[in-house]
């Protein structure tokens, strides 16, 4: 495909990371547009009027593709290259299920546990986060490096944020959620994921990520509060 590909994203986003990894796995040349989410561009607002957030994929003249997991599936189907989703329908359903679980349950619990003040509520969310991580960890196939088996697949990409950003969030928040003694397999997976040569292209240096994200701490605290209000 020789049509231009533009990815609207922002620095240090787990969702944007997914879209970028998928595109680079397929060797798609892309232009990365970095948004300042405190001052959203017309480009972003025009192309994602519903959710007004990143990532947004612009492929040639087509209107935007939005929502990170939908972008990943689109990239898998629209471009040649190593397959991202498994081929067996049941495996595909499983991968989609655990990606949804990750977003709806896992990240929510982790996020609230990270940014809520210490106390009973925070402790309960931290427990839930760790239980969810255990469930997720069990999806790693026996003797394989990745959720996708021998190579990175859909679920690896979906979980990617845990590998390279969770540690940064933990450091900023002063909260430890993912520990070797509790989740050795997930920790080992994270190391394997980060050593993959495609993933390495999508992971900026940790120090600059730390500085940028630390500046957003107040925003994180308020989004966590909003999430608990929802429940």
């Amino acid at each position: 495909m020789s049509e231009k590909v533009k990815l609207i994203g922002c620095f240090g986003s787990t969702a944007v990371h997914r879209a970028e990894v998928a595109l680079r796995l397929k060797s798609v040349p892309l232009e990365l547009v970095v948004e300042d989410l405190t001052n959203k561009s017309d480009l972003l607002l025009t192309h994602n009027p519903i959710y007004k957030t990143v990532p947004v994929l612009l492929h040639g003249h087509r209107p935007a593709v939005c929502e990170s997991l939908i972008i990943v599936e689109y990239v898998d189907e629209a471009f040649d290259g190593p397959p991202i989703l498994p081929s067996d329908p049941l495996d595909r359903a499983d991968a989609r299920f655990w990606a949804r679980f990750l977003d709806d349950k896992c990240w929510k619990a982790m996020w609230v546990a990270l940014w809520t003040e210490p106390g009973e509520t925070q402790a309960a969310w931290a427990r839930e986060a760790k239980e969810n991580m255990t469930l997720l960890e069990r999806q790693l196939p026996e003797g394989k490096n990745f959720f996708g088996g021998d190579a990175i697949g859909f679920l690896d990409i979906a979980v990617g944020g845990i590998a390279h950003l969770l540690g940064v969030f933990e450091e900023i928040a002063g909260v430890r959620l993912l520990a070797e003694e509790d989740h050795p397999a997930l920790c080992r997976w994270a190391r394997e994921y980060l050593s993959d040569e495609t993933v390495r292209q999508c992971v900026p240096d940790r120090d600059s990520v730390l500085v940028a994200l630390a500046a957003r701490k107040e925003l994180y605290v308020s989004t966590a509060k909003a999430m608990t209000a929802e429940k």
């Binding site: 519903i50 492929h59 087509r62 593709v65 939005c66 929502e67 939908i70 972008i71 599936e73 689109y74 189907e77 629209a78 329908p89 049941l90 595909r92 359903a93 989609r96 299920f97 949804r100 679980f101 469930l135």
Partner: protein, 226 residues
């Protein structure tokens, strides 16, 4: 409801009025796939089989194919497309059209049920907010539908239609609790609702608006809401 022991080895664990379960019933009917329908009486408690088949969320619908569970209604519908490729598909074949279908089905998923629930559960300011959100949702979907016969456009009745159709019997309840008319707020959606309601797969999977309204009454009693 289909309940013949299936030659395609499919069993659906479901709850009669669940719009999520109905999506799967619609998909199975569109594909002409026989299956065993198992009613889970959720108001009485959850069966062992359900708890084992969906240990993470303990929710219906659950599709069992050769005994293996598939969970989450939209994931099940995609699974049916992929596991039975010789049947009429709900997702179109073009990758971009598929991405759009997934986006809008996901939008329905994220918005309609939760907002609708707040509309009948809450009072005062929170209910007014739910009402405003519901109008916004309907108008957004109206814009997306436009002048198409179905959300699936050129593909015909598709993924988004199957995702949203089960909510059409809930419109009457939303109208009563929210004091608005879908036909006024979103006339194209109202017309679409009537069209899909006549489609065989949909007609045989859904219950009447009155039954849905009564069910909400039962739920309100259960939760001790006036």
């Amino acid at each position: 409801m289909a309940s013949e022991k299936s030659s395609s080895d499919l069993t659906l664990l479901d709850f009669w009025v669940s719009p999520f379960g109905q999506r799967v019933r619609i998909a199975l009917a569109e594909k002409n796939l026989p299956y065993e329908y198992v009613e889970e009486d959720l108001l009485a408690g959850k069966s062992e089989r359900l708890l084992q088949s969906n240990p993470v969320h303990k929710k219906i619908p659950v599709l069992l194919h050769g005994g293996k569970p598939v969970n989450e209604s939209l994931i099940i519908v995609q699974y049916l497309d992929e596991a039975f490729p010789d049947t009429p598909s709900l997702l179109p074949s073009d990758p971009y059209a598929r991405a759009q279908a997934r986006f809008w089905a996901d939008y329905v998923d994220k918005k309609v049920y939760d907002c609708g629930t707040r509309l009948w559960k809450l009072k005062g300011e929170p209910q007014a907010q739910a009402r405003a959100e519901m109008l916004e949702i309907l108008k957004t979907l109206e814009t997306e539908l436009g002048d198409k016969e179905f959300f699936g456009g050129e593909h015909g009745f598709g993924f988004v239609d199957a995702a949203f159709a089960p909510f059409t019997p809930w419109f009457m309840s939303y109208e009563k609790y929210g004091e608005f008319k879908v036909a006024e707020v979103a006339p194209k959606i109202a017309a679409w609702a009537e069209r899909v309601g006549k489609r065989e797969s949909v007609a045989k999977s859904l219950y009447s608006p009155d039954k849905v309204y009564d069910h909400i009454g039962v739920l309100k009693k259960k939760y001790g809401i006036e």
